[in-house]
Structure formats: structure tokens, C-alpha cells
């Protein structure tokens, strides 16, 4: 048994690798579910519907002007970008989630006695490509 560790995660927006600015990320593949229950049934029946999903990522704000999360994410707001997440790091055959996404939101939070944090949320356009890395 070998447990995966979050520290190995790679997160890219377009060609920008912002992994070193991230301390959390979540890739959610969801779908519609249609209720097909008919009269007389003793339990609900369901059919799968269209895929839907979102990606969230966050970390500590970094002042690195050209490569930091603010520099990469703010210009991408309300646009479609390729988002890539590699939960075991980079390497041939390792898993990878990849999707074109709309960058829906970018949030910065600045508590007075702690580091400034940021989060971003992407909405998946279409479906996730889960082809392993080549």
C-alpha cells in the first residue's frame, strides 16, 4: 500500500504551473440525475444525465508579480482556460485530470493577523479528460 500525499500535486492553468502557490485543490465531476420513477414503484428509479463539474483551488497569496496566482488568474476571469491537475505529480503513466474550464471566480481573503489567502473556482466546459500522462 502506498498512500498519495497532497504535497505532490501539480496544478496548471493553461501553461502556467501554479503548484507552488497552492495548498488545496478539488476536482469534482458531477452529473444530472433524472428521476424515472413510475406509478406503482416501491422505490425511486433514476437515469444518468449530462455531466457537470467544477474545480476549486486555493493557497497563500504570493507577491511574485509575473507568475503568482493573481497574475495568472485575474486575466483569465470569465474566459475559457485549460486546467490540469496531476494528483501524484508529473510522470509518464501517472493520473491526470484535464478540462477546458471557465474561470468563474477568484477570491482574496486578508485576515489582519495571518497570511493573505486566495481561492479560485472553475466550471468545467464539457467533460474531464482523464487520460494518464504520456
Amino acid at each position: 500500500m502506498s498512500r498519495g500525499h497532497g504535497r505532490l500535486t501539480v496544478f496548471k492553468v493553461g501553461t502556467s504551473d501554479i503548484s507552488q502557490y497552492c495548498d488545496t485543490s478539488e476536482w469534482t465531476d458531477d452529473s444530472d440525475v433524472h428521476d424515472t420513477t413510475g406509478y406503482g414503484a416501491s422505490g425511486h428509479g433514476y437515469d444518468p444525465g449530462l455531466a457537470d463539474g467544477k474545480v476549486t483551488v486555493g493557497g497563500t497569496y504570493d507577491t511574485t508579480a509575473l507568475t503568482g496566482p493573481r497574475a495568472v488568474l485575474v486575466p483569465a476571469l470569465r474566459t475559457k482556460v485549460l486546467v490540469t491537475r496531476q494528483p501524484e505529480g508529473t510522470g509518464t503513466g501517472k493520473p491526470q485530470d484535464k478540462a477546458t474550464c471557465v474561470l468563474k471566480s477568484y477570491v482574496e481573503t486578508a485576515p489582519v493577523a495571518d497570511y493573505t489567502k486566495w481561492t479560485a473556482e472553475f466550471t468545467i466546459d464539457g467533460v474531464t479528460d482523464r487520460t494518464p500522462q504520456t
Binding site: 496544478f11 507552488q20 497552492c22
Partner: protein, 136 residues
Amino acid sequence: MNLGDVMEEVAARLDTIDGLRVVSYPDGKVNPPCAVVALPDEITYDLAYQRGEDRMALPIVVLVAAKLTRLSRDQLSAYCDGVGPSSVKAVLETGWTPVSFGTITVASVRFEEWTQGAVDYPAAIFETEISGRGTT
């Protein structure tokens, strides 16, 4: 972040405070008024993906003459002030760009007796929060 590099760089910056003697590690010698850059309790690794961030809380001990006089009280006061040329907080947080780490915040200062040899010195112990890349 390399611990030794960070301690040396912080000490060099503190050394710009006029009249304050600075040692970059606790070498067992004090000559008040002086600042000792002490070892952190711990270094926390992997606060971001891909070795993006490590952190440490580096204590800085500032000592004044053993018998507290009005003069030494005022010296200590100037080091603990939030502003001014002798302010440890202002000198460490502004006016320079560290090389061996990313950011430093002087979060608090507490006061206690610091025993060196058989002598108790009035001491201000500054708690700093230092963060930097794990890959440099």
C-alpha cells in the same frame, strides 16, 4: 530555505540598528544591548504543493543591561516600538528584500528574564514568522 542563511540574513538586517550588537546564533556570549538570533522550535515543510512553501518561527532575543535602569528601559522600549530607526519590527519588515526567504513578519514580543551565565538580563523576545520556498 536554509536555516543558517536565514539566521545570518536576519542578523545582518538587525545589525543596521545603531548601537545594537547582533549575533546570528546563540553563542553563549552577551554584551548588552544586543540581539541574539535564536534557533526556531521547528520548521514546517510542505505548506504548498511541490515544495512551494516552508515556514519557521524564528525568535529574536534582545537584551539590555542586567540592572534595569530608566536608560535601559528606554532602550528596550525603542527596540519594541512599532516604528522608528531602532524598531525591530520596522527594520525587519520594511526597507529591504530578503534573499534567502520570502517574507518576514514580526508577530509579537514578550518580556522575560534571560539567564546567561549567572546573570539575569531583561529581555524582549520577538516572535517572527518567516516563509519561503522549499526549493531554494
